[in-house]
């Protein structure tokens, strides 16, 4: 269980649809240091699969993927 404060960056992508959450996530990952994490919030149900696919293609680490009501949250660690 992580809290928002543990992360270097909080990215709010709620009420955004594909492709914007991935475009914003990709821009945000460069804002944090290598080895650090960001937390992203989204409401697009497709983001569950898109964030995973993005992390695989970009070779970053999707540390945590959760759903709370209609809001999804993802913790991503910058790996390189």
């Amino acid at each position: 269980m992580t809290t928002v404060l543990e992360h270097q960056l909080v990215l709010d992508c709620k009420n955004l649809l594909c492709p914007m959450p991935i475009i914003k996530l990709n821009a945000a990952i460069d804002q944090i240091g290598v080895g650090h994490t960001l937390v992203m919030f989204a409401t697009d149900p497709g983001s569950q699969y898109d964030v995973q696919a993005w992390a695989k293609q970009r070779q970053h680490d999707l540390v945590e993927s959760k759903k709370d009501g209609k809001v999804f949250s993802y913790v991503v660690r910058r790996m390189h």
Binding site: L16, L17, C18, P19, I22, I23, W54, Q57, Q59, H80
Partner: protein, 166 residues
């Protein structure tokens, strides 16, 4: 190591210039560059309108011949007979309707997806044959577009992992 891997590549053809058909190639290209892929879109025939600076902001969607187009008023969900699409103003109505859906869903304008694609290193190719046929010059096109023929696009697409015609 990440940097030593060969990048994946997507080669897209955008052949249609209506508002609804302009989005898919740009959504795919902007997502691809965001995933670290190389991406190029070859804009041909009416697809060339997407990168024509006089037309980009004014792309339309026509209800005629499009049975998927819903009734313009949600409270009156009767399917509008398709032949009514010939009436003056129906294309403008359908276009403003679709733009209102996009606004409500926070979908960015096409120009923003073009910017994301270019900033991510994606290439925008204008089909020179179409330019000749339609009388479009390089000055009519948005900044940063390269004018190419089919052979140059195929040379790029030959090394692509994904190729799609839209």
């Amino acid at each position: 190591m990440f940097d030593q891997q060969k990048k994946r590549r997507i080669a897209l053809v955008a052949s249609k210039g209506s508002l609804d058909m302009a989005y898919p190639p740009l959504i795919l290209a902007s997502t691809a560059v965001s995933m670290g892929w190389e991406a190029a879109i070859f804009f041909t025939f009416y697809g060339l309108d997407i990168i024509n600076k006089h037309k980009l902001g004014a792309l339309k969607v026509a209800p005629i011949g499009n049975p998927a187009m819903p009734a313009p008023v949600a409270a009156f969900p009767m399917q509008v007979p398709n032949f009514l699409g010939v009436l003056p103003g129906s294309t403008a109505l359908a276009t403003s309707l679709m733009k209102s859906w996009f606004d409500k869903a926070n979908i960015p304008p096409l120009s923003e997806l073009i910017d994301v694609t270019r900033e991510g290193g994606g290439k925008l190719y204008a089909c020179t044959t179409t330019m000749g046929v339609m009388g479009v010059t390089e000055e009519d096109l948005i900044e940063g577009v390269d004018c190419r023929g089919a052979a140059a696009f195929l040379d790029y697409a030959a090394d692509a992992d994904v190729s799609l015609f839209v």
